[in-house]
Amino acid sequence: MLQVENLSKAFKTKAGDVHAVSDVSFAASAGEVVAIIGASGSGKSTLLSLLGLLDTPDQGSIELDGIELANLDDKGRTQYRASQVGFVFQSFNLIPNLTARENVKLVLEFSNYPHADRDARATEMLSLVGLDPEKSERRPSHLSGGEQQRVAIARAFAAQPRLILADEPTGSLDSKTGQKIVELLRNAASVEKAIVLVVTHDEKVARQADRRFEIEDGTLREIA
């Protein structure tokens, strides 16, 4: 269970303070896919950074399964990112000199996943996202965009995190491939019992989520 209460973040600029995230509160349950839509500069990515503990909120709380995360120190935040959060980026952000399998195994290493089980877990996740086993030994540059995003999803879910943060996961893909990726996210959320938070400006993607929120000028509201 993810519980966000009164989360706020402002940036100082020459023109004054910009409230990127303003008093945001919402909750999401395991296995649920939540879509957050909004225009560019509305605060989507900042909200994702706060939830992924890549940035610190000015105020508010983030609770995951009853544990307060907003006040963790650097070490705690790193451990949280390694074991409780999975990221899926628009531009995939796979490590270019590692194979698909090695990219997945990398997060298992960071999360101290049992060494003996890492290979099997990587195979399981790559199979779950439908990557051809032969391609699992290829480097990202030898994979298509859709295949790279499959690997990125496998990497995000590999360490069995409680929360998946997907930032425009279909933004670099054609609509057909994007559709498959959203299905994959839904399926993985269901199988792995994880909360999936998808930030997008694509209405089609948002409509496939269990719940939808719109963010505007840093303020979040649920839409039907």
């Binding site: 990515s45 790193t78 990112r81 990221f87 531009s91 270019p96 990398l106 960071f110």
Partner: protein
């Protein structure tokens, strides 16, 4: 440069070690049997033993006896040089006098100390004691052969019967023509009581030779000429010291330059891989694990570079070192007599009082003229394990220094900033 510096260092150490730890003292103005001056006294010599760092003082009184004063005949024919240097070219019947060396250190005298720097070895009989006052002698092989002497034989000198107690061989015609006798005996028989014509002072180690020489000069003042092998050799070593200085500065310059280049390279790599660093942090990598990865990379680069540099150094260090030494020693020349590096004390004056025998290139440990300079500038470069260890150590220092700055930059990368720019 490291290899060149090591080679020059080794050469300097070897030359310094080979020149010995002795200081020669002779009456001012006296050289061999030439020149003038006033003999030194036993008392003056005795004070030298008390000086700091001095471990031994070998005193000698040298006499040349004509056939009217001794029954011995010199085995050396006068020849052209004898007539020329002896100034007897216009006279008939000239013969070389027999040299008598009175020494208070027969042990040292028989291993190359007193008698012209030879490598004398006792071939029969015994030596006399340092404090002996007996009328005994240890004679050179050729002197013994010419005069049909063996252990137990007798001859006369200064009208006194002297018994041969030992025979030595040095391999040098000059040194084998001498007779060694106790110092006190020669002083008594020659009517030169309390007189000494030379001393060889031995310092406890190479680093104290100059200090000992300076202290002797201060003590004896203008009464004595004091020369040390180290002082003599220092001017010859100055080109090598210059090369050592040049190579040291170049080495440090290279290390600093390499560190700066690697530092900038690492900063560039970190900058280029900023996104990767941000992503790694986002997916759970700690600063420590990322920094470790970059340090491993920079260390690998540096060690790889060090190995290539080492191999290149092995290949080109010899010509570079030779060129540096040649350039630095172009104007240096040797004057006077110097001893070969495998010998003992340098310069003939002092302890033995003998002019240097032997010819160039015979490698017998005797004095040679002029060829020493070539010996010094002939440097063989070799890269040993210690050089390799230094090279690797420097490589690691460079890698460490550059990695430290790169690491600091890595820790400051904020994944939110990197990912926000998507």
């Amino acid at each position: 440069m490291l290899i060149a510096r090591d080679a020059v260092n080794t050469k300097i150490a070897s030359v310094r070690a080979s020149t010995g730890t002795t200081v020669t003292v002779s009456p001012a103005g006296f050289f061999g049997f030439q020149g003038g001056g006033t003999p030194l006294s036993n008392k003056q010599i005795d004070t030298l033993v008390t000086l700091p760092y001095v471990i031994a003082v070998q005193a000698s009184l040298n006499e040349e006896l004509q056939s009217s004063v001794t029954s011995l005949t010199s085995p050396t024919p006068p020849g052209f040089l004898g007539h020329h240097f002896g100034g007897f070219s216009s006279r008939g019947g000239f013969s070389i006098p027999v040299r008598f060396v009175g020494t208070n250190s027969p042990g040292t005298a028989l291993v190359g100390g007193a008698n012209g720097g030879g490598t004398e070895k006792l071939t029969s009989g015994t030596a006399f004691s340092a404090t002996s006052t007996a009328n005994v002698a240890v004679v050179g092989t050729s002197l013994a052969t010419t005069n049909k002497l063996s252990v137990g034989s007798t001859f006369t000198a200064w009208g006194t019967k002297v018994t041969v107690v030992g025979i030595y061989s040095s391999g040098s015609t000059f040194a084998d023509a001498d007779a060694l006798m106790p110092l006190a005996t020669v002083q008594k028989l020659a009517g030169a009581t309390n007189q000494v014509t030379g001393a060889t002072v031995t310092a406890d180690n190479l680093n104290n030779v100059t200090a000992v020489a300076n202290e002797i000069k201060r003590l004896l003042g203008s009464a004595a000429d004091v020369t040390s092998s180290q002082a003599t050799i220092s001017s010859e070593l100055s080109p090598l010291n210059s090369v050592k200085t040049i190579s040291t500065y170049t080495l440090f310059g290279s290390v600093i330059g390499a560190a700066i280049i690697l530092l900038l390279s690492m900063l560039m790599i970190v900058r280029e891989r900023r996104r990767e660093i941000g992503v790694l942090k986002a997916i759970g990598a700690s600063n420590r694990s990322i920094v470790t990865q970059f340090i491993a990379e920079s260390t690998t680069f540096t060690v790889f570079g060090a190995v290539i540099g080492f191999l290149a150094g092995v290949a080109i260090s010899s010509p570079i070192t030779s060129a540096l030494v040649s350039a630095s020693s172009g104007s240096a020349n040797v004057t006077g007599f110097v001893r070969r590096p495998d010998g003992g004390p340098s310069f003939g004056a002092g302890g033995s009082g003998f002019a240097p025998p032997g010819g160039p290139g015979n490698g017998d440990g005797h004095f040679h003229f002029g060829d020493f300079h070539n010996t010094i500038t002939q440097i063989h470069t070799a890269a040993g394990w210690s050089t390799l260890a230094y090279a690797l150590l420097m490589a690691l220092v460079i890698a460490g220094a550059s990695s430290a700055v790169a690491s600091f930059t890595i820790t400051r990368v904020r994944p939110a900033d990197v990912l926000r720019s998507e």
